[in-house]
């Protein structure tokens, strides 16, 4: 389990990855060739993975996103230290905040 600001990256055993993920569409890379885990709307700062890998939106309990870095990867952000991920699958969770009657995501 790794945390970079408001994003938590949780290791998932390969055998636990749902079967349908193999056929699921992959998220496109951004203009800089990165896999964007979370994007700041105003600054454009992003929690992003550089290097080989795949990102899949996953509505189930392993969601909301699954990251696969078969050769490991680096998670970068303009305002946070880089995190080095060992090879494998990861669940990517965005931090949220309690608001009476609802929840809202955290603006990092």
């Amino acid at each position: 389990m790794y945390r970079q600001g408001d994003v938590l990256i949780v290791s998932v055993a390969e055998e636990a990855v749902p079967e349908h993920v193999e056929r699921a569409p992959r998220e496109p890379r951004d203009g800089r060739g990165r896999l964007v885990l979370a994007l700041g709307e105003v600054t454009g700062h992003a929690h992003a993975v550089v290097g080989p890998g795949e990102l899949v939106r996953e509505p189930g309990p392993f969601g909301p996103m699954l990251l696969h870095v078969p050769r490991g990867g680096r998670v970068v952000h303009e305002e946070h230290g880089t995190i080095v991920l060992p090879a494998g699958w990861y669940r990517v969770i965005r931090q949220r905040e309690y608001v009476p009657g609802s929840v809202r995501i955290v603006a990092d």
Partner: protein, 454 residues
Amino acid sequence: MDDVNEWRSYAASAAPADRARAEAGVRLAYRLAGLPEPARILWARSPLEGVRTVAGLTDAGASVREAVRTRPWAAERRRLHEELGPEGWPARWSATGGRLWELTQSLVDRIREGVLEEIGRKESARARLILLDAMLGQHDAPWLAAFAADRERVDGDSGSADADGRSVLSGGLESPASGGGTGRSAPGDGSEPSASGAGVGRGVRGGAPEFPASGSGAGRGLSPGLPKSAESADPTDGAGRGLPHSGPGYPAPADGAGHGLSDGGPGSQAALPAHPLAGLAEVCRSAGWWWAFEEVAVVCERPVELHRDEAGRLDRGDGPALAFADGFALCAWRGMPVPPGFLDELRTLVPQRIQAEENAELRRVMLEFYGYERYLTDSGAKPVHRDETGVLWRIEMGIDEPVVMVEVTNSTPEPDGSRNVYWLRVPPRTRTAREGVAWTFGLDASAYAPLQET
């Protein structure tokens, strides 16, 4: 900038409208719909002024929204449904418009509410209808992003198309005459729409929308969802694969006349038919909301101020978060609408005033604006719990539920060596700091154990 971010930037633009480009886009949209161009194009400084302008029109003729937007929009969506299939379309949406939809639509809803509030109850029925007839210009970006994502697909097919790297929806803006009468191309490779043909009304998966606005209170016209009558009037019947710019697959405008349009890109010499949504895309790139009537089009300027937080919500504590040149403005704090006078009061807050506020939502805004830390200091609060994840605080709020927060320190130091402290509100039942931080990631306290934090 990738394609989606380009559309994102149009949706969030607060630059003055590029009026020449917008007007050219409006005229192109009429021509692509097979209509004569409007005799007049009027400008409004805001959606509010736009509604009032439309309400005052006496010689505008009938609305042509159906022909200009609804029908080509439905046709394009149907084409994509058929081509991409029941799994491909949700995937397309998720990778494109879905990334922009929620924030853009919430802004649209908020503007609509603001217009109705300004107009007042007496005139609101009429204003509501006018708002339903609006096309959204810059705020049509999510759908246009989804429609435009064909670029990679067509690059290999269409030769000169997109050679200039512009979006697939960039149509030329020259007059039909200058296009050399290229007119309609043959219907592509002759392929017919897929036999299933049931793209319209098909269920969705994974949250991708068939009609994303359904249930959100958006009505006809404001919703990308389209009435069945529009679907049945799909003019793409019989068209093959769409090849933006290059013609095959895109039908001619409804009148069948030649509307060949230069691609318009630098160095492009070929006269190519425009994408059916090229006019709408041009307005999206260059202006705000707009209305189309037989004789007149009314186009709105973009806002002069737009302040949002990192999550993209309207957010400003010292003035309107969204403002237009005519003074029409919306105030909001982290997405929550607040009355304009309320912001003035924020500057003179004291804890007693916060406690006395009866509206729970405004009280929350007051507390956030005042600052949890300051409030806790001023009110002499003591931490409830402390561990390696942070500090848990609790503020009793009388008959309302208590405010419980975790105080967390950023792991990555600032350039000056200091570390940012931030506060996250957690459910009132939270008993430990770890439980609170774990909750913010949807985990149980026992499951939250990062190996590394930055």
